[in-house]
């Protein structure tokens, strides 16, 4: 392997990428493979499969972003987990270490939510400036990169105990599209990664490397080109610009807490839907008093987190849901757009399990007494599923700068979120369906469980055709500043019903192609 590159702080020919997850990590490798010089700045440390820990709280302490954030709005997370609006990762590889691996393409109609759903009162729906036809080839590339099962001739994973309960219930209530999903978890050796060993603990980082993560695929491969330098424990404070309004570099605190400035030809922001808008807002200047890329006033707005929730159920006999791949199970029948159900958009149902420690923390936060503890007493006999559906973008569901500051004195993100009536109607529908599924296989008790701290954080720098409607164009490029890009889930115009990582990866591959072309043409 070639020695990883080392670039000078004054080298203004590099592309600086902030964040190394599914968006930033993939973009870094894709650019490096094309010969572009990249400096990737990552706030967290570097952990590889041998470092990951099969223990929920210990792993959380190792990987989770626990820097301060604040919350507001009527969502229950703001009450139960006021300082922890999201369960996402601070490490090289970002949340691609933690994700469950579900890799679904958007459905055709979801690219054009405003057109297909019509205006929804209180929602800020917009069509993506992209569609399925445009994205098909990029999805092909993303699926091949991730080794997604059930496509490209790759076999699906075998179903675990939790899946078998879920499948039997789903078929009993008449669902048709039920299988172990399209997973970025190998069912057989693929691309130098081994097959899934049904270990569980997918959320804690896959110790076998069977699940795709940029941490041990794209990042080291990018480094091997000699074109990528990853600096870990580099906490970016602000993006700088010149008097022409072009970005020129970033200031960051290095691992020793010293402020550094890395010059850049291009800056790509991929810190997730909280940190990316926070960074743009914290980079305000005389020329851009409301923050960078924010002439539209849209930076931070339209935060989406998917309409989620879980349904657990207890049975007469053991299920042992924690054994095996956590999320290899899906029912897609409710993912369609069918307003006769009382809401627009649709939702997926996917198998899910938590270990006992996290079940105690998340089953019904704040609850106590025997209603709660008798459910846990049946933990061994429990099956579980997760609801993931399209939520409505709303202008005031937004990330703003809080009065709270972090260890570096930088204002942290405040996350304001309230459910839209459409979100509530969808969640209630899904709770009823999930409970019906488990009752059909003899559930003795069903537990409609509230949403956890968010893992699907979307919007806040959304893509739009017209500059006044969003922050970036169809390439994730700022409408205002041509050499500033957004490369993570914050560029999502709407959320669709699908787990977002595959789309984030597809957009990053596509963006790398665009950046390389624009650099060659001398446009950026």
């Amino acid at each position: 392997m070639a020695k990883a590159a080392k670039f000078d702080l004054t080298d203004d020919s590099v592309v600086v990428i902030v964040g190394t997850g599914a968006g930033g990590g993939v973009l870094a490798n894709e650019l490096a493979q094309k010969g572009v010089k990249v400096v990737a700045l990552e706030a967290g440390g570097r952990y590889l499969p041998e470092d990951y820990i099969n223990d929920e709280w210990e792993s959380f302490g190792q990987l989770a972003w626990t820097d301060p954030r604040t919350t507001s709005g009527d969502w229950r997370v703001a009450k139960d987990f006021s300082g922890l609006p999201a369960w996402i990762v601070k490490a090289v590889g970002g949340t691609s270490i933690h994700w469950a691996g579900a890799s679904l393409r958007f459905q055709d109609h979801e690219w054009k939510a405003l057109t297909n759903y019509g205006p929804v009162e209180g929602a800020n729906l917009l069509d993506w400036p992209l569609d399925s036809a445009e994205m098909a080839s990029w999805y092909d590339k993303a699926e091949a990169k991730l080794g997604v099962t059930g496509v490209g001739g790759r076999a699906r994973l075998p179903g675990n105990n939790n899946y078998k309960v879920f499948e039997k219930g789903a078929l009993a209530v008449g669902y048709k599209e039920v299988h172990t999903g399209n997973m970025a978890i190998n069912s057989a050796d693929y691309d130098d990664r081994m097959a899934c060993q049904q270990t569980g603990f997918c959320f804690q980082g896959c110790k076998w490397g069977a699940k795709w993560s940029s941490a041990y695929t794209d990042i080291p491969r990018g480094e091997a080109t000699g074109n990528l330098e990853v600096r870990d424990h580099a906490h970016v404070a602000r993006i700088l610009h010149d008097d022409k309004g072009r970005v020129t570099g970033v200031e960051y605190f290095d691992k020793d807490g010293n402020l550094q400035m890395q010059k850049a030809r291009i800056v790509a922001v991929a810190g997730n839907s909280f940190e990316s808008p926070r960074l743009l807002l914290n980079s305000h200047s005389t020329m851009f008093p409301d923050g960078l890329a924010n002439r539209s006033g849209q930076v931070g707005r339209n935060y989406m987190r998917h309409t989620t929730g879980s349904v657990y159920a207890t049975f007469e006999h053991p299920v042992r849901m924690w054994r095996g791949t956590t999320m290899a199970g899906i029912i897609r029948d409710e993912a369609r757009h069918d307003p006769s159900r009382g809401f627009v958009g649709g939702y997926e149902l996917e198998t899910l399990s938590l270990g006992l420690p996290f079940m105690a923390a998340f089953l019904d936060p704040g609850a106590w007494g025997r209603e709660f503890t008798t459910a846990l007493d049946s933990y061994e006999n429990m099956a579980g599923m997760w609801i993931v559906g399209e939520d409505m973008p709303q202008a005031d569901n937004r990330v703003t700068l809080s009065d709270t500051t972090d260890a570096f004195g930088l204002k942290v993100a405040n996350v304001n979120f309230s459910d839209h009536p459409n979100d509530i109607a969808m969640r209630n529908h899904a709770y009823a369906r999930g409970q019906a599924i488990y009752k059909a296989v003899g559930a003795t008790r069903t537990l409609p469980t509230p949403p956890y701290p968010s893992t699907h954080n979307l919007g806040t720098n959304r893509m739009s055709e017209r500059p006044e409607d969003g922050v970036v164009n169809k390439h994730g490029q700022s409408h205002d500043i041509p050499n500033l890009f957004v490369s993570d889930g914050s560029q999502f115009t709407t959320g669709a019903a699908e787990n977002p990582t595959l789309t984030i990866v597809a957009l990053a591959i596509r963006q790398a192609d665009h950046i390389t072309r624009e650099m060659a043409a001398g446009n950026v």
């Binding site: 060993q197 053991p318 006992l356 704040g366 503890t373 007493d377 061994e380």
Partner: protein, 173 residues
């Protein structure tokens, strides 16, 4: 993490030194112990009554009839420090006052779980109650010793996962 230790005391000796703390645990000078002397926990910063009350509170907040007191004792042992002394003292004074209003000498004197739960409900919005409850979520459920009692198997990587150990062995569907 735990200061638990097996006491070399006979049941008789324990009982003779005990003050009444309800059916749960026996308190003596500097410790509280199981009535059968199966375990004991020393107290240093807080009083025996306070530790016995915390232990009963823990049981009443997250009652699992198959979990022995020792797990709850471990979960609340962290309050036996100078830093927590005032919070605990004030909280338990308020809890015992609420019990008096309900017609009991103190919280521990309420004999039925339902009676104690009603007292707890009357203080459940206080910082004291929420601190104790919140601490138990990890203090109790993250003790690896209780996991097998719930059937939870913990880490599996060191055993090669479940690919050959029953990931799909469900036999009753």
């Amino acid at each position: 993490m735990s200061q638990l230790r097996k006491q070399g005391l006979t049941r008789r000796a324990l009982l003779s030194r005990a003050v009444a703390t309800g059916a749960l645990a026996v308190a003596g000078p500097g410790f509280i112990a199981a009535p059968d002397a199966a375990w004991a926990v020393e107290v240093t910063a807080i009083s025996e009554h306070q530790m016995a009350t915390l232990l009963q509170m823990a049981r009443d907040i997250y009652p699992h009839d198959r979990l022995g007191d020792r797990y709850y004792a471990v979960a609340v042992k962290s309050y036996d420090v100078t830093d927590q002394k005032q919070m605990v003292a004030e909280g338990i004074v308020a809890l015992d006052a609420a019990a008096k209003q309900a017609g009991f000498d103190n919280y521990l004197a309420a004999g039925w779980e339902d009676e104690r739960v009603a007292i707890l409900r009357s203080i459940e919005d206080t910082p004291f109650f929420q601190t104790v409850r919140g601490g138990l979520v990890t203090g109790l459920y993250n003790q690896k010793g209780i996991w097998p009692i719930f059937g939870y198997e913990g880490e599996s990587f060191s055993q090669g996962g479940y690919i050959n150990r029953g990931f799909d062995d469900i036999d009753w569907l």
